[in-house]
């Protein structure tokens, strides 16, 4: 083969995976940006974007042009290095988890034995990015937003990881492919619906989505940690948020909703990805629905929910799972 002598297949595979990951990141940001605005409109009985393109389909493209054209302002006395790298630190790690997510039995960048831990480790960098952004902005509201984000993420990481452990106890593997394969026939949401609920609530909080969007909290902190960001810095934060939402929902689907499993399709080894995306977007729409239903929680309510309800429940759940497995 010519290509074999030209490029080693392993290198081709890496290139292809990288391109696919980036396409998914930007495609998802486009779809989510449009969906969110359109659904937000519908929930409030207004049409949402309508002017650019049919039903406002090109709105996001036009917004992108607008954001690129905006002037980048660095606030006086801000830390220029931290201020500049914060959006990149937020966005760059968002691409990495896509390498280990199994979209279908054969569509997966790499099946790491520690895939789950890899995702959790990489996603946690976002907290750092928010902290950098809030600290570097030289703005007290940004700093408050960043501090809130850290407290929130530290708090919600615990119930999330504890419910993850329940799943891991059952499947005995950290490989995402293995976890999905273990759910053939019986999805884990049917076995442990409580864990699913806790995990989903925790991921909503981890992605800083309403009603847990305290780091942004536009009515209290103007825009929280991203107050001072304009143009592409701002849009990188947004793209990162949508990507983290996608990753969080992918994780929920992989852990509880049976991943790519669904009614059989032709060429199932590849087309099963359709079921995966269907489930992920159903969850994303649920997140949008939640966002446009509930008002933002107060900070003590946020922490109470976590420490008083989610943590004890996930601990008990872990204990029960372990006992049941031993029996």
């Amino acid at each position: 083969m010519m290509t074999e002598s030209f490029l080693p297949p392993e290198l081709l595979r890496i290139l292809f995976t990288a391109i696919c990951a980036i396409v998914i990141v930007f495609g998802n940001a486009l779809v989510m940006g449009y969906l969110e605005r359109k659904l937000a409109g519908r929930f409030q009985r207004r049409p949402g974007p309508m002017e650019v393109g049919w039903q406002g389909l090109l709105q996001l493209a036009v917004d992108g042009v607008k954001l690129v054209g905006k002037q980048l302002v660095i606030p006086r006395h801000a830390d220029p290095v931290l201020y500049r790298i914060a959006p990149i630190v937020s966005f760059a790690p968002a691409v990495l988890p896509l390498l280990v997510i199994p979209f279908s039995p054969k569509l997966q960048g790499r099946d790491l034995d520690i895939g789950l831990i890899f995702i959790l480790a990489v996603v946690a960098i976002n907290v750092l990015a928010i902290l950098i952004a809030g600290w570097g902005s030289n703005n007290k509201y940004s700093l408050l937003g960043a501090m809130r984000s850290v407290a929130q993420n530290v708090a919600y990481e615990i119930p999330m990881l504890l419910t993850l452990l329940s799943v891991i106890l059952v499947t005995n593997t950290f490989s995402l492919k293995g976890i999905v394969a273990a759910q053939e026939g019986l999805w884990f949401i049917l076995v442990m619906p409580v864990a699913f609920l806790i995990f989903f609530i925790a991921t909503v909080a981890e992605t800083n989505r309403a009603p847990f969007d305290l780091p942004e909290a536009e009515s209290e902190l103007t825009a929280g940690f991203m107050t001072e960001f304009s143009g592409m810095g701002f849009s990188l934060f947004f793209m990162a948020e949508y990507t983290y939402m996608f990753i969080a929902c992918s994780l929920t689907v992989i852990l509880f909703l049976g991943g790519w499993h669904g009614p059989p399709l032709p060429y199932a080894e590849y087309t099963a990805a359709l079921w995966f995306f269907f489930k992920v977007y159903a969850l994303l729409i649920l997140m949008i629905w939640i966002r446009w239903t509930f008002p933002r929680v107060r900070f003590d309510q946020l922490l109470n929910l976590c420490w008083k309800y989610l943590v004890p429940f996930s601990l008990v759940h872990l204990l029960v799972t372990a006992v049941v497995l031993k029996i």
Binding site: L39, G41, R42, F43, Q44, R45, R46, P47, M50, W289, I290, W292, T293, F294, K308, Y309
Partner: protein, 147 residues
């Protein structure tokens, strides 16, 4: 302990009720009117700026006899009109009727006082202009143009 679980139950239930309410709103029709392209019908009680009523039976298409009652009664002095005597025509002929809409308070006194019911309110609500002069309406020109 009882309160703890009761709170979970009532809290969870209230969240579900909230979700169902937004879901119901989601499937109801959109109430937005795409304004420049579609507009709602205006109530007949709407009082826009005054116009001379178009009267197809009279050659001048309006009933104004240039009596200047409206000009005199107007509390904000926004009406100025002028009639002149013409050969072979009974009474005065209206040659100019100007409404300064920047001053008009839409009180309707001119409409009430008009002896021939020549004045009425229009249903015009889209007033746009870049200069003050844009709101000096020539009502005579309007009635002659057929507006």
């Amino acid at each position: 302990m009882k309160d703890y679980f009761a709170e979970i139950f009532t809290g969870g239930k209230s969240l579900l009720v909230g979700m169902l309410i937004t879901l119901r709103e989601f499937f109801r029709p959109v109430v937005t009117v795409q304004y420049p392209r579609e507009a709602l019908p205006i109530t007949p009680n709407y009082r826009g700026h005054t116009i001379l009523v178009r009267d197809e039976e009279k050659p001048e298409k309006h009933r104004c006899i240039s009596c200047k009652m409206c000009e005199r009664e107007c509390p904000s002095n926004c009406i100025s009109l002028h009639g002149e005597k013409r050969e072979g025509v009974k009474g005065l002929t209206l040659v100019r009727y100007q409404l300064d809409f920047t001053k008009c308070s839409l009180c309707g006194t001119c409409v009430e006082v008009c002896p021939t019911d020549a004045l009425d309110f229009s249903d015009e609500y889209r007033h746009v202009g870049f200069r003050r002069d844009d709101f000096l309406y020539d009502l005579l020109a309007r009635v002659e143009k057929g507006q």
